[in-house]
């Protein structure tokens, strides 16, 4: 299509947030811990003060710490709330949960949550999981107890982002035939694991289903309204290329209704289409493209810049022992009072500090970064 407007999805963070994110939006942010987190969109949410968010996450917690720190999260679906830089549990998230500002928390494990995104990515109704069994992750059902699961009296889903059940445990109809390690006709399995209790068992477990069988926990797809991801490059036609570790991304990015991609650089489509096997997401899945160099700060974007270890350390010192109201004040001052992300990056962080994080092409990080002082 020669006349197609290739710039139509390109917009500012302010416009993307105004257009797609409202109070109560069910949203998932990409990246993992100190890696490639979409801070530009998250900071714009803080600037616009959009609250009551239903945040769903697999391995945080920089984005979620800021959003909870600004008092914007109401419900949280999570697997892990650790922060780096000497803060074992993300401080504002912890306080907000303990004091009730975050009203509901639903817990999964990294794996069961990842399988939820896999089911969503492939358009499947569920995925089987061999973990979470025997733990309180299965027995504690927060959304169920809050009456948010299932259908209302008119037959509509009570909440389109909350599945009718947290898990469903079934007996494997294939009788554990595929579980590793197993035996092949030509010999025993070559994998490293040795234990598979189903192979020696006299009787099969009866938990959950009430009858003997090979237990499998089915998890529903994860279907947020909005997913946000940070990539190194996005082409004008929306083609996405992520470099380095993927973490929850790609699967999670493709799970929702609206995908916002923020990036270091927008490039011509030919630049990415010349080697299409290195691209992860076609532009057809992308609703908005936001270019913001250094927008992943203070997290790392491999091949571009490292995380700012000092930021994590200083943040810990700034909030430790503070009340939630004082933490809200901190984030208001740091982010909400900035005009946009350039204003934040240049006037709150500073170009000198950003430049010192530049990654080295051999390591994909900055081996000279000062840490552990």
């Amino acid at each position: 299509m020669a006349n197609e407007d290739l710039t139509s999805k390109v917009m500012t963070a302010a416009e993307a947030v105004r257009r797609f994110i409202r109070p109560g939006t069910h949203i998932a942010f990409g990246g993992f811990a100190v890696l490639r987190r979409p801070m530009t969109i998250a900071r714009e949410i803080v600037r616009q003060g959009i609250g009551d968010l239903f945040v769903t996450m697999n391995g945080g917690t920089t984005v979620e710490e800021m959003l909870a720190g600004a008092g914007l999260i109401k419900w949280l679906e999570t697997t892990y709330l650790g922060m780096e830089g000497g803060m074992p549990v993300a401080y504002a998230v912890r306080l907000a949960i303990e004091q009730g500002e975050i009203e509901l928390v639903e817990d999964y494990s990294n794996w069961s949550f990842a399988l939820r995104t896999v089911a969503a990515r492939y358009g499947l109704p569920f995925m089987p999981c061999l973990g979470d069994l025997g733990s309180d992750l299965i027995t504690h059902d927060t959304f169920g107890r809050a009456g948010l699961r299932g259908r209302d009296e008119k037959g509509r889903w009570r909440h389109p982002g909350i599945p009718p059940r947290k898990y469903a445990v079934i007996d494997d109809p294939f009788e554990g035939w595929g579980l590793r390690p197993r035996d092949y006709r030509s010999g025993p399995d070559t994998c490293a694991n040795k234990s598979n209790a189903y192979r020696q068992a006299d009787s099969l477990p009866t938990a959950y289903t009430g009858k003997p069988g090979v237990k499998v926990a089915l998890v529903p797809p994860l279907l947020p309204e909005v997913t946000v991801v940070r990539a190194q490059r996005v082409a004008l036609d929306g083609t996405v290329r992520i470099e380095g570790l993927l973490g929850p991304d790609v699967d999670q990015s493709l799970a929702g209704r609206i995908l916002i991609v923020e990036c270091e650089r927008i490039c011509p489509p030919e630049e990415l289409r010349a080697v299409p096997e290195h691209n992860q997401i076609p532009g057809h899945f992308v609703s908005a493209i936001v270019e913001q160099p250094f927008g992943g700060y203070p997290t790392a974007v491999p091949n571009y810049y490292d995380y700012d270890y000092e930021w994590f350390r200083e943040y810990g010192q700034a909030v430790r022992g503070r009340t939630l109201a004082e933490v809200h004040e901190y984030w208001h001052e740091q982010v909400a009072t900035t005009r946009d992300d350039w204003d934040y990056l240049l006037n709150r962080v500073g170009l000198k500090r950003l430049a010192a994080l530049r990654a080295d092409p051999r390591h994909h990080y900055n081996p000279e970064l000062s840490r552990f002082k």
């Binding site: 780096e84 733990s135 993927l246």
Partner: protein
């Protein structure tokens, strides 16, 4: 004196150490490293577990394969990472995948023989709590209108690793409140889980059950018959009675034996090659109040 000896001498005097004495962190790193057998495929977190894995690779387990749960298979650790998703943890790796790959392609497929985990609570059957202390209900459904007394990180990869590994090593600070008879929230089934009828396999966990708990006082292992943790090795300067006093159930100390202290060679490799700047070794014991 050869050059390396001179370098080590300088290191020892700079940090006020001797070749044979060790700090609590060094002892822990060596104790964990000894559980990492050659040929193992080990899911380790950053910090002390990664130090221990690097020490094992450089000494007794050269063919150990390190896996980080963010999706990294067999990296080279040139600079110590602070997170499993730190780009330092991905350097020269064989492959970088997704979270689904870490637990699917690698662990469920059969390449997770061992995992090293930590927790806030560990009970007599090796169940771990890393979710919440006290009432775990969030405020919106809690009768008190408040959330948990203390909210912790949640499972992360711990539950999944313990479901899929043949063996789990748990690192704990040894305090009575951290070793209750039953955990207040069961995040991770690291050991037997419970008595007959309540065991891990009774709930469909088909791998694992082999467990070693390493604390700052001792090591514990499950009794082969009951699955209940008993005292195994006692660290230098610690008595079995002291361990029992700091444990929340009636700990069996009848099979206690002394822990073989770190050798001078283990300490030298740990200090000079694994953590030369003492980023982690220089820290004091974590979490003790």
């Amino acid at each position: 004196m050869c050059a390396l000896d001179a370098k080590y001498e300088a290191y020892l005097s700079q940090h006020g150490l001797t070749a044979s004495e060790f700090t609590p962190m060094e002892l822990l790193a060596c104790a964990v490293a000894r559980e990492l057998t050659d040929g193992a495929f080990a899911f380790v977190g950053t910090g002390l577990p990664l130090l221990a894995a690097t020490l094992a690779k450089k000494t007794t387990a050269p063919s150990l394969t390190i896996i980080l749960e963010a999706g990294t298979f067999d990296p080279e650790i040139a600079d110590l990472p602070i997170s499993v998703a730190d780009p330092r943890a991905a350097f020269n790796a064989a492959t970088l995948g997704t979270l689904a790959d870490a637990f699917g392609t690698i662990a469920a497929r059969g390449y997770c023989t061992l995992g090293v985990l930590g927790a806030a609570e560990c009970d007599m059957y090796g169940n771990l709590n890393s979710t919440a202390i006290g009432n775990p209900l969030p405020a919106g459904i809690s009768p008190t209108g408040r959330g948990p007394d203390v909210r912790l990180t949640g499972s992360g990869g711990a539950n999944s690793i313990a479901a899929l590994a043949d063996k789990i090593v748990v690192m704990m600070v040894h305090e009575k409140r951290r070793f209750p008879p039953r955990v207040s929230y069961l995040t991770t089934v690291a050991g037997r889980r419970g008595p007959a009828g309540e065991s891990r396999f009774d709930y469909g966990l088909f791998r694992g059950g082999e467990l070693k708990v390493i604390t700052d006082l001792c090591t514990l292992k499950p009794d082969p018959v009951t699955g209940i943790l008993v005292l195994d090795e006692v660290f230098p300067g610690v008595t079995p009675e002291e361990v029992r006093e700091n444990t929340g159930w009636d700990l069996d100390i009848s099979h206690a034996r002394p822990f073989r202290p770190p050798s001078e060679e283990e300490l030298r490799v740990l200090r000079l090659e694994v953590d030369p700047h003492r980023f982690y070794l220089g820290r004091t014991r974590k979490g003790r109040r």
